[in-house]
């Protein structure tokens, strides 16, 4: 299998593969090029000059939508989701190395979360927070705290309902990665550490953690990038403010100039920067 002449099927499948890669990246490259369209240019080719005009337009904001604010919100939410995804997946990963009652239930719950239609999850969380609002308002009223009542809007928000919605999407990926990591983990290192007199905490801190650090960075990248692009689960569960992808989805039907491609280029650059940073950090940690 490993030596000798390539069979004819190799060339056929190589062509299929090449076509698939072109199909994956071709459109992306197209809008990358078109985002540098001249000021007179439109949504399609030909290019009418090359400029940064549409990036400047983007910076000024698009109509009523404050892109910069949405951008900041998405970065902040992505960072928090990343942190939670790493810490919670690590905890769960460590727990799954031992036997504990309910581990199968927890595993299947997180798999169910992964394949649950997102709109159902989103609706559920939206509903939950609406009921919380109703209950809290009733509570404030019976307690006679009218001052607080007037100031109260909704419990829904970026770091409550939206954070929860994102975690139902990122944590299953985090757990699956951690399970794969610990499946391949050699317990001999830990045994050696404890033979040498290390405490449980010391062997975790100085032996296990350095070994799995690159994978944790990978989990973090999953957390950030999945949150950065999330729409379906956030849509009904965020309240008044919007994340960048939600604004972007709204803009697709209203904006008819290349500024939207410029926005696409910017968000893609962020995704690629995160991926590049992840790979670099993993390399440093693997030293």
């Amino acid at each position: 299998m490993r030596e000798g002449k390539r069979p004819r099927s190799f060339y056929a499948l190589a062509i299929v593969f090449g076509a698939f890669v072109l199909f994956l990246y071709g459109p992306m490259i197209t809008i990358f090029v078109l985002s540098f369209q001249g000021p007179e240019g439109g949504l399609t080719f030909p290019m009418r000059g090359v400029s940064l005009h549409w990036f400047a337009k983007l910076w000024e904001g698009m109509g009523v939508v404050d892109i910069a604010a949405a951008f900041r919100r998405s970065v902040a939410l992505g960072a928090v989701v990343m942190l939670f995804t790493v810490l919670l997946s690590l905890g769960a990963g460590l727990a799954f190395r031992k036997k504990f009652a309910g581990s199968a239930l927890l595993f299947y719950t997180s798999v169910a979360s992964l394949i649950m239609p997102s709109i159902v999850v989103s609706l559920g969380i939206g509903l939950q927070f609406r009921l919380i609002d109703t209950a809290l308002k009733a509570l404030l009223e019976t307690m006679g705290l009218s001052g607080l009542l007037e100031g109260y809007g909704t419990a829904m928000g970026l770091f409550t309902s939206a954070l929860g919605a994102h975690l139902t999407w990122t944590l299953p990926f985090g757990l699956l990665i951690m399970l794969a990591v610990f499946n391949r983990f050699n317990p001999a290192y830990e045994e050696a550490a404890s033979d040498l007199g290390a405490t449980k905490w010391q062997s975790f801190r100085h032996v296990v953690l350095p070994l799995i650090a690159p994978s944790l960075v990978g989990v973090g990248m999953f957390g950030f990038t999945l949150s950065w692009d999330e729409i379906a689960r956030t849509s009904q569960a965020i309240g008044d403010v919007n994340t960048l992808p939600l604004e972007l989805q709204g803009l697709t039907s209203t904006v008819t100039n290349p500024a939207i491609y410029a926005l696409g280029t910017v968000t893609t650059v962020v995704s690629f920067a995160v991926m590049g940073g992840t790979l670099a950090l993993m390399k440093v940690l693997r030293r």
């Binding site: 459109p27 197209t30 159902v120 609706l123 509903l127 139902t168 950065w228 972007l248």
Partner: protein, 292 residues
Amino acid sequence: MGVKKSGALAWLQATPFALVFLLFLVLPLVLVAAVSTWHASDYELIPAFSAQNYIDVFNGCLNTGELCVTLKTYLSTFKFCVLVWAITLVIGFMVAYFLAFHVRSVGAQTLLFIVCTVPFWTSNVIRMISWVPLLGRNGVINQGLQGLGLIDSPIEWLLFSNFSVVLAFVHLYTMFMIVPIFNSMMRIDRALIEAARDSGASGWQTVWNVVVPLSRTGIIIGSIFVITIVMGDFVTIGVMGGQQIASVGKIIQVQTSYLQFPMAAANAVILLVITLMMIWGLTRLVDIRKEL
């Protein structure tokens, strides 16, 4: 270190993770199921226990003449589901097969695998609108065909149509087929393939009788991903259908935005039940084949 103590530690470690799913998955789903039997006025939800919402969802479906809205929407969603599933399965299988069996060096394999998965980490909406300059009225394809004199006027069905919806689904989600199928294929003992060949099996026979059955787990996992995504979708169908094509997810989204929570919840319960039945059927179907 006793079993009990390590069990308690494990619980402690898993609790934050479990709490997230309890608060943001289990509880919301219970609420969806409960609210699907409630009533709603213009500004508040009224707890009740009635099947009225479900009756309303299927309103008019017993008429023999024209199909009711709900059934029509489900049929349209099923159609997308079957098309996208078949196309992503074929493409995903071929790509995974090429990576697993034809690329010989591990380095090249890893690199090409990463090339296939990188777009997954970029924005879905951006990947959808990136088809606009190619498929639009004045897009590359229409301009090219007109330039060649093959067509007189632009083809209208390329964008904001059923075609572009399927295309975008395939573009976005073939990755969900490639990864699990590739994973299954990498676990196949290469000696089995040699044995099949030595026993005189042709290339096709080896693929169909050895590789496909042994990739079964990956194929099922990939299929479950693709089917559940398409069944509940409203973003892709919305953007690529020019907000003109109905889907079950879109019905739920619209009803939620009009604060018709009980109706949206009833629709969500029905969607969930149908999706679970499809997943169950899929696993059964393959199991039966194995039994034969």
